[in-house]
């Protein structure tokens, strides 16, 4: 069963590394904590910071379902930081260096650190609508290929995690991880759990020693601790093995001893469903509405070049709300999916007051910024629309 977990860990780590370094993708869009950070801005303002996408919400939902069924299996099987941290420790253990085991009370006290940390991160992120701590994030340093806003401190934190992992088992995951702080309340009610059959237990204590999260498995009947990774190391360590005193499954339901294959199947199902949903139901990552919806509305679906980020979507809104000769009288709503290259935008308008041509003019024509006393040129080009085409014959004709 441990081999199966290692294979899954290796698979997700390889996927992350290949996605980031080989395919140069934006792995940040698949971070569940990104979903937590983006939630407030999305609900209150209807948009997301540049590097995040609606996929963050889908993956967060997938991880929450996973946590409600498999507890913190995401940390034990999928998270690259968890895998690297755990494998580093195993590496030094092979060289004969035994991990330091902190006194139980100290370990529990340190594990509380992640709650004020997540509170601080979310408070400032929600307040500023920016990923203010991204520059310090060791995971972001990895998945952004040393992104522009990475600070020296991200590497200090990374160094700390690496050094700490050589001494203690998964210190970041236990004490500091903000995602763990979010998952723990859900994990507490996790459907499956580790059960120890006291009658069969020989009280060797090996399960507790093997537990990377320092859970005293040998002292409880059921592991209800939120931090359980469902890693099944305790079962593996039991001298009687899979048929021994420690088992995994949903207690009191359809038999408590479940094969590890189910665990992995649920894990992969949650992940695949979240990924598929983000492609099948791509909600707009930027929505802004103006005025009241009339009885009848029409929509213009446009492919716009240079609608790269939230900033440019804000700028597009600025063009749609312009108050000069290219004003759109019946403009109602902008829904956009900003991204590199050509991005999609859906514009809802009142067909009795304007038409698609008016919208296209408004998006592509320069405007005078009275505040700055400057003429600004539109950075947007609409696919399939030739603004020069409107000038056939009389080049000065009003649209």
């Amino acid at each position: 069963m441990i081999t199966a977990r290692r294979v899954v860990q290796f698979g997700f780590l390889t996927l992350t590394v290949a996605g980031v370094f080989l395919f140069r993708g934006n792995a940040e869009r698949w971070c569940p904590f990104g979903g937590v950070e983006a939630l407030h801005t999305y609900v209150t303002e209807g948009n997301l910071t540049c590097s995040l996408a609606v996929s963050n919400f889908y993956i967060l939902a997938g991880v929450l379902v996973m946590t409600l069924t498999l507890r913190r299996a995401f940390c034990g099987y999928m998270c690259p930081i968890g895998t690297i941290s755990e494998w580093l420790q195993r590496g030094v253990a092979r060289l004969g260096v035994r991990p330091v085991r902190l006194p139980y009370k100290l370990d529990r006290t340190l594990s509380l650190l992640k709650y004020p940390l997540v509170a601080i991160i979310l408070f400032f992120t929600y307040k500023t609508a920016e990923l203010v701590f991204r520059g310090f994030d060791p995971c972001y340093a990895l998945i952004s290929r040393h992104g522009e806003d990475i600070t020296f401190w991200a590497y200090v934190v990374s160094g700390g995690i690496i050094a700490g992992s050589l001494i203690v088992v998964m210190p970041f995951c236990r004490w500091l991880c903000p995602l763990a702080a979010v998952l723990n309340p859900f994990s507490r009610f996790g459907f499956t759990r580790i059960t120890r059959t006291e009658e069969a237990c020989v009280d060797c204590g090996k399960c507790a020693v093997a537990c990377p999260m320092a859970i005293p498995v040998n002292k409880v009947r059921q592991v209800t601790a939120a931090r359980c990774l469902s890693c099944l190391s305790c079962i593996e360590a039991c001298p009687a093995g899979e048929t021994g005193a420690v088992s995994w499954g949903p207690p009191g339901l359809v038999g408590r001893r479940w094969p590890v294959g189910i665990l992995i199947a649920v894990l992969l199902f949650c992940t695949a469903t979240a990924v598929a949903a983000s492609y099948l139901f791509p909600l707009p990552s930027f929505t802004k509405t103006r005025g009241r919806k009339p009885a009848e509305t029409a929509t213009a679906e446009l492919a716009i070049h240079n609608l790269a980020c939230r900033g440019n979507a804000n700028l597009l809104m600025y063009y749609l709300e312009r108050d000069d000769m290219f004003e759109i009288p019946g403009f109602i709503k902008l829904e956009a999916w900003p991204g590199p290259g050509t991005a999609r935008a859906r514009i809802t308008y009142d067909p009795l007051r304007c038409d698609e041509a008016t919208i296209k003019h408004a998006i592509t024509e320069p405007y005078y910024d009275a505040l700055g006393g400057l003429w600004r040129l539109s950075p947007f080009q609409i696919e399939g629309y030739d603004p020069l085409g409107t000038t056939e014959g009389d080049t000065t004709r009003d649209p």
Binding site: R310, D324, L377, P379, L388, T395
Partner: protein, 284 residues
């Protein structure tokens, strides 16, 4: 051997012959664009527009041609619209937009009637400054003195004093201009335009060292994106002609901006960011 030379000569001729054919449209477009610029400088808007549309249609990938055409097309439309009957706010916003365009392209003769009308309606220090700027650009210093002199004491500012000094200097009253330059009280918090005009005033009164100092400050305070426009204006400004060929002036023209164009907020405050159209944050 001889055969090889003939083949090489033939290939060379084909390549040479194809160069003009390949470069043709781009060159035609560049020519049309240059014609458009020249026509625009002469305030021949409709002709310039036709030249720009030719450039944009000939070299379809050139964004500069497209954008220049779009902007002029809008200015031409605005010039027509402003003649029609409309509300004062609408008129004022169009007038200001047109005035900015005229000044950016140094078509001061077109700006003058607008500036006069704006000042007539407002009679405010900033409308007086706008009108005086245009009058000075058109060498109408006597009228500029009248406009600025018409401002009350409470409306006087470093900028009005500097412009008044410049107008006075143009009238040959150098001592009076020097006194105004001394009294102008241009503080460190003044904007780049005030320093630029102070540089012109000092140059007009023979203080080349002081002029270069003010010019340097003006460049330092100008955002990087506007620096080239100001450099070109300084190069062509007759007030600096006394030392325009000096090494110090050349060195001053190379002064870099010391202000930041505004850092990227990664989306939360893009609405007013001057780089928002080109920053491309979020691009992979």
């Amino acid at each position: 051997m001889q055969h090889k030379v003939v083949v090489n000569l033939f290939v060379g001729c084909v390549v040479l012959a194809s160069v003009p054919a390949l470069a043709g449209p781009a060159e035609d477009a560049a020519r049309a664009f240059a014609d458009g610029k020249a026509l625009l400088a002469e305030a021949k808007f409709d002709e310039a527009l036709k030249a720009f549309v030719t450039a944009a249609r000939t070299d379809v990938g050139n964004q500069e041609y497209h954008q220049t055409f779009f902007m002029l097309r809008q200015v031409v439309r605005m010039r027509k619209r402003i003649q029609r009957k409309q509300g004062p706010d609408q008129w004022m916003s169009m007038a200001r937009a047109l005035r900015t365009f005229y000044h950016d392209h140094r078509i001061y003769s077109e700006s003058l009637p607008l500036d006069r009308k704006i000042h007539e309606q407002h009679l405010a220090p900033d409308s007086a400054v706008m009108l005086a700027e245009t009058l000075l650009a058109l060498d109408k210093s006597a009228e500029a003195i009248e406009v600025l002199g018409g401002l009350g004491k409470k409306d006087a500012s470093p900028r009005t004093s500097v412009l008044l000094g410049l107008a006075v200097a143009r009238q040959g009253r150098i001592d009076e201009a020097r006194a105004l330059a001394g009294k102008a009280n241009v503080g460190n918090d003044a904007g780049p335009r005030v320093f630029y005009e102070l540089a012109r005033l000092r140059a007009a009164t023979g203080d080349s060292q002081g002029s270069l100092e003010a010019l340097t400050r003006s460049f330092e305070l100008t955002p990087p994106s506007r620096l080239d426009v100001l450099r070109a204006e300084a190069k062509d400004c007759t007030d600096f002609s006394a030392f325009a060929s000096s090494a110090d002036f050349t060195k001053t023209l190379k002064t870099q901006s010391s202000i930041e164009e505004s850092g990227c907020s990664k989306g939360s405050t893009c609405g007013n960011c001057p780089k928002r159209a080109t920053c491309g944050c979020g691009k992979e």
